[in-house]
Amino acid sequence: MDALLLARMQFAANITFHILFPTISIALGWTLLFFRLRWLKTHDEAWLMAYRFWTKVFALTFALGVVSGITMSFQFGTNWPGYMERIGNIAGPLLGYEVLTAFFLEATFLGVMLFGHGRVSERAHLVATFLVAFGTTMSAFWILALNSWMHTPAGHGIRENGEFFVQSWAAVIFNPSFPYRLVHVLLASGLTVAFVLAGVSAWQLLKGKANASTPKALRTGLTVAAVLIPLQILAGDLHGLNTLQHQPQKVAAMEGIWETERGAPLLLFAVPDEATRSNHFEIGIPKLAALILKHDPEGEIRGLNEFKGAKGYEHPPVKPLFYGFRIMVGTGMLMLAFSWAGLWLYRRRAWVAQKLPRPLLWGLAGMSFSGWVATVSGWYVTEVGRQPFMVFGLLRVDELASAVPAPMIALTLALYVTLYLALLVAYVGVVKYMAEKPVEMHDAPKTEPVGSAA
């Protein structure tokens, strides 16, 4: 295998492992703030218990996000030396602002948030909790600005030596796909956390390990999921329309449309074949793809065969996009079904968690990390859909060869993958173990600022 392919695999492995944890910590930070505020308002210890337990999950998740993120900061340079040479003037400041406005903020106030109670006032502690959540969200803002720019570049110029430079920062940051992508990703984070909350709570109920906080976390999770999933379907649809406008070949691959056609069906299943340039075993709903993408049953969608470069067809690989998209949408549909059914049943049972039917609880427990499945598959669709470009339409991936010898990349790739798999197993195992353990409440702080309590 050549160095470029290995460098890509290593980067993909790293960034895939990394994204799992920010996806949880972004929305979980805000959830913790909500739990804390509920406790201060109601003085109901169950909310404090929820805060305590989920803070542990947050700390663990955050640590994994930090260490895998540090790896990323090195790999931008080691795996893509050409990347910074060509688009460093754009990527550099965006990454720099992420470190300066997000990483330090969340890392510093995390210490105060986790361990500072009793040393700072309740108000200062709340502010620290807010700043941690805010920091994680700012981080998403900057990194998605850069990521979106790579899909829909704007606000830049290109010098004769191929170096990109900025003409308008506003146009670079708020590039055409950025608002859609940011909303889609933040909602994905919210849904991921909602299902982790509901799933872990369901597991506690199933194992007879529920505590006072379990019904509250379950209700929070189900409510958030039930509210966010329709919003996510809408946001996803708008994001898709935006993609159709800027990257039509990506949408054609997602839908498995080879020839430009009117009234294209929505394929529920098929086996796309790039050799014959057709699909096998198609099962589809007539005209639905056209209706969704063009809001017109007779609308025209451009097929993959239209996209040709100097060396023949030039479009992203079809299979990963076609299947990845269906995995994401399928998971989303399951999320819709489970959150609405769950919330409805929970309400019918007068919010008594113990009375919930066990099949529902098993389903929710099984869905605990469904957000990861949807996020990663959706993200693969969009990033693989950018191929063969690094910066869409302007800079090809194969122009940015890695300078490191292939065997060295292979060695470190094996090292990282082994470590990541072990850590992933350890993470899920420890979350399960913590869920089955009682929450320590022996030193519940008073609601008043410390000092006046005693």
Binding site: I70, S73, G88, F104, A107, T108, V112, L114, F115
Partner: protein, 331 residues
């Protein structure tokens, strides 16, 4: 002086500051990690409690330092990290193990705690040794040849000793009783290797580079620069003398740590003077390696606002956790 000349200097300074802060701050963390296997189980908890609220932010200085290298000096980034690819990977593996062990050791099943304690120790050691190797390679201008490898290997052993001295100093300051007395003993053990290491680093650069030799050993500059090595030696000797005194267990508990930090600061000043204006010794100057002036200006504006803010809330966080370390409990 125009912006094209000035901004690379500003970023060199900022990068140097980040790296120095990283080495000092994560240095004491890693040093505490390296000492972990010498402590009893209760002491292990106290030791980790003393660094728990800080490690994450401490590590972020590394991200900023490497980030500035990547953003402001992309050509140097390629040259340095390309040459140090394997030690960088090993350091990252070490930092990953150490970082996750913080949480796993108290959250996983009790029977697994020794395993995660070991991961904490081994990760700290791997990261520190890899950083020593990289430092050794970097200050000899990344030259190939067995003598440079031997030198790098020596620094790979000696930098962890310097971190141990910092970590032990931190523990003397942040703990009490038996652990504090142990820390004094550990600091004494680390002191000799640190002295050797400082000597090696100080001698290597002028031997390797004619440029550096010219910069230090010519009159009257030599006299003017003499305070740097003399102060370093004084601080080191002072730290060692303090360790024999009972007062480090009481009121002066902060002194060994402060003196060790000043050794690092003086070392960094000396190194910066040796290197400037090179970012890779004798091969690449900061101006050759710098990004476009517009890109640097955009980040400089951000840095001017955020870096003082970051320093401000870092001080706040250290003040919140001022005094002797207490058991870590989630609020």
């Amino acid at each position: 002086m125009n912006w094209e000349t000035t901004l690379p200097i500003v970023f060199m300074g900022l990068m140097g500051l980040s790296m120095l802060l990283y080495v000092v701050l994560d240095g004491y963390d890693l040093g505490v990690g390296l000492l972990l296997h010498r402590a009893t189980d209760d002491q292990k908890d106290t030791m980790i409690a003393s660094i728990g609220p800080f490690w994450d932010a401490n590590e972020t200085w590394l991200v900023l330092g490497v980030g500035i290298l990547l953003i402001a000096f992309p050509k140097a980034h390629g040259m340095v990290l390309g040459a140090l690819y394997l030690p960088v990977a090993l350091m990252l593996v070490g930092l990953i193990l150490r970082g996750v062990a913080f949480d796993f050791r108290v959250k996983a099943q009790a029977v697994r705690k020794p395993l995660w304690n070991f991961a904490f120790f081994a990760g700290s050691g791997l990261a520190a040794a890899a950083q020593g190797w990289m430092l050794g390679r970097y200050i000899t201008g990344l030259q190939e040849g067995w003598i440079f490898m031997v030198f790098a290997a020596a620094i790979a052993l000696l930098l962890p000793a310097a971190y141990v001295l910092l970590g032990a100093g931190w523990l003397i300051m942040k703990t009490e009783g038996e652990l504090q007395r142990h820390a004094v003993k550990w600091a004494k053990l680390a002191w000799v290797p640190v002295l050797i290491g400082m000597g090696l680093v100080s001698l290597a650069t002028p031997v390797v580079s004619e440029t550096v030799r010219g910069k230090w050993f010519s009159m009257p500059v030599f006299i003017a620069l003499l305070p740097i090595p003399l102060l370093t030696l004084t601080a080191l000797v002072g730290a060692r003398a303090m360790l024999n005194s009972q007062r480090v267990l009481g009121k002066l508990c902060w002194l060994p740590f402060t003196l060790t930090v000043s050794v690092f600061v003086l070392g960094a000043i000396g190194l910066a003077y040796s290197l400037f204006p090179y970012v890779v010794m004798d091969r690449l100057t900061i101006w050759q390696a710098a990004s476009a002036t517009e890109a640097l200006a955009v980040i400089a504006i951000g840095c001017a606002i955020t870096v003082p803010t970051i320093l401000g809330y870092t001080v706040f966080s250290y003040r919140v956790f001022w005094g002797k370390a207490t058991a870590l409990r989630y609020a």
